[in-house]
């Protein structure tokens, strides 16, 4: 029967996998940057860009398949906005990669680098949780919106919010560090550091926005 349309959830999960891969690759790039392996860093940053392209393509496919004439278990608008937010997670990772590529990585104090690396590790957590959350959303529908599955989903959303908070704190700490050490580097390095940090904290911001959308999906 043509009556049944393809569910958007399998492709959404696929998209989340690519987004996670993008963030993981970015973290590897940050690691290379931290250890001064700049060639490796550049290769990885280019790879981030490539993965973001793949995520974009999957996003387009999902959008094209979501006709307004679908009757779904969750609202189409929520799915589309969720997809947009999830894609922004990869976009932010790409932004960070861009800054890594254009900036001069030398002359950054170790304590600043430490905080940035930590933010990278936390960002992976956020992306992993987003992936888990969309897998769990599929399960919520499979269970016919059973309380206990919704409960589990709320825990994941809570965890994403916690990670976002942790990264926010790291971001604040980094800003403080940059201004405290302002005389140890020139303005362009400061600008560079702050933008790497801003784009990094965007990752978890968008992860949190995605989580918010999942909350709305369950409330339809």
């Amino acid at each position: 029967m043509k009556l049944f349309a393809k569910s958007p959830f399998k492709p959404l999960i696929k998209h989340a996998e690519v987004v996670l891969e993008t963030v993981k690759t970015l973290e590897k790039a940050l690691n290379a940057w931290y250890h001064g392996n700049y060639d490796e860093m550049r290769d990885l940053a280019v790879e981030v860009d490539r993965l973001e392209d793949i995520a974009d393509r999957i996003k387009e496919e999902i959008r094209d398949s979501l006709s307004s004439r679908l009757m779904m278990a969750v609202s189409r608008e929520d799915v589309l906005i969720y997809l947009h937010m999830q894609d922004k997670v990869a976009d932010s990772a790409e932004d960070t990669a861009k800054w890594l590529l254009v900036g001069r990585p030398d002359g950054i104090p170790k304590e600043v680098k430490d905080v940035i690396l930590k933010m990278g590790t936390e960002s992976i957590k956020a992306a992993k949780l987003v992936h888990e959350a969309i897998v769990q959303m599929d399960r919520v529908i499979e269970s016919g919106f059973a309380e206990k599955e919704i409960e589990r989903e709320y825990e994941l959303i809570k965890a994403i919010e916690d990670v976002e908070k942790a990264i926010d704190e790291l971001d604040t700490e980094l800003m403080r560090l940059v201004f405290e050490n302002a005389d140890r580097f020139d303005w362009s390095t400061g600008f560079y550091i702050l933008n790497v940090a801003r784009t990094l904290s965007n990752i978890s911001d968008k992860a949190k926005d995605s989580a918010e959308r999942i909350r709305l999906m369950m409330n339809k």
Binding site: M1, F4, K6, S67
Partner: protein, 403 residues
């Protein structure tokens, strides 16, 4: 054999072929879509069950005019029935071929009724049509899907409440799947009595056929699930239990379909046969066994030749319809048809199944339903009677001029 009779038989066979080709996807579609059976298995089950249903349980007495939609007393020349039957069969076949080709599940009953009304109007004007009866048929367009939707909505909610939403869905499924299966078979057993054995006493049907069948199936399912099932992921486990149940329920829908819808093909043949061999004799005509066999065979061949292709298309598409949902749809359709038969309401299996799909969708059970396809299907229901009627009227007019 009278050449007119031969032509009627051929057209009746073509009609049966179309019933098989068009309707098989409606009864087996959910089972194939939910991967409970392969298209090949579906064709074999549907072909066999439809033939058995048609041959053994098809009505041995048919209405001279399907559902008494025309006033037989106003037909003075018996040959009108022969020409009329020919026109109706050909018109319904043409419309069904068109619908099947476009993947629209339309009601075969409504097609043949449209064909009959068409020739009736040409023959004697609007006075010959029993508009009250036709009104009932029209009402069934609206009521079948609505009842299907309402029942499916609550059945799915109940499956959710008793199994899916429990702390341990697999454990709950072990207890509740046999219960739901048993309940389904109470419906099925009773339907067997009413539809297949043509019994009329509902209480008798429930007590002597429904409940014993349900109880035996309950025990069997309970035993099978306990012994054979190895748990893995709870939801996958639940679905695999319902996958087995669906094989059986879809087979039954096919049996009931054969016994019920074969009349659309054999009724007109029997009417023409009666007129040509013994002359017209009132509202009812006997249906010889060989005509039933022919109808059953036609349906089975239709399934193997074309219905199979429809199923393959269904099977290749990723519908992500899971077995608990498929079961909810089958169970609800069966229940609605049982109650409707008992109330004497003309009901369409096709319309009820489509309604049930929407019902489960409204209960947030189906991840995505194509409402544009849904709109096409509903439009096709509304045009079935007029279009089949128009084609039939034209054919009948030509036959009158030629004959």
């Amino acid at each position: 054999m009278d050449p007119l009779l031969l032509v009627t038989v051929i057209l009746g066979f073509a009609m049966a072929w179309n019933i098989g080709a068009n309707d098989v996807a409606n009864s087996m579609g959910t089972a194939v879509g939910a991967r409970a059976i392969t298209p090949k298995q579906a064709a074999i089950i549907a072909g066999t069950m439809n033939f058995l249903g048609a041959y053994f349980f098809g009505k041995s007495v048919a209405d001279t005019i399907r559902k008494g939609i025309l006033n037989v007393n106003m037909i003075h020349d018996p040959m009108v029935i022969v020409y009329g039957s020919l026109s109706a069969l050909l018109a319904a076949s043409i419309w069904l071929i068109f619908a099947t080709y476009n993947g629209l599940p339309v009601s075969t009953t409504h097609s043949i009724i449209g064909g009959i009304v068409g020739y009736g109007l040409v023959y004697a004007g609007s006075g010959i049509v029993d508009w009250g009866k036709l009104g009932q048929v029209v009402l069934s367009w609206i009521l079948s899907p609505i009842f299907g939707a309402i029942v499916a909505f609550f059945v799915f909610k109940a499956i959710r409440g008793t199994i899916l939403a429990r702390d341990d869905p697999l454990r709950s499924a072990r207890h509740w799947a046999p219960f739901w299966t048993g309940l389904a078979f109470i419906v099925i057993g009773t339907m067997f009595y009413i539809k297949v054995l043509h019994g009329s006493d509902l209480a008798k049907g429930v007590i002597f056929y429904g409940i014993p069948t349900g109880f035996v199936v309950f025990l069997l399912t309970y035993a099978l699930i306990r012994v054979k099932f190895k748990p893995s992921d709870p939801y996958i486990g639940v679905e695999s239990i319902f996958r087995k149940v669906q094989v059986v329920t879809s087979g039954y829908v096919a049996l009931a379909h054969g016994s019920n819808d074969v009349a659309n093909a054999v009724g007109p043949i029997a009417a023409a046969y009666a007129v040509l061999t013994v002359g017209l004799s009132g509202m009812k005509v006997p249906v010889p066994r060989w005509i039933l066999a022919l109808g059953g065979l036609g349906i089975a061949i239709g399934i193997f030749m074309y219905g199979y292709k429809v199923m393959e298309t269904v099977g290749k598409k990723i519908t992500e319809l899971t077995n608990t949902r498929g079961f909810s749809i089958d169970f609800s359709a069966a229940t609605v048809i049982l109650v409707a038969s008992w109330l004497g309401m003309p009901i369409s299996t096709t319309h009820t199944v489509v309604g049930a799909v929407v019902g489960v969708g409204l209960a947030r059970g189906v991840k995505a339903i194509n409402t544009s396809i849904l709109r096409d299907i509903i439009i096709s229901w509304f045009v079935t009677v007029p279009v089949a009627g128009l084609i039939s009227a034209v054919i009948f007019k030509i036959l009158l001029l030629v004959g």
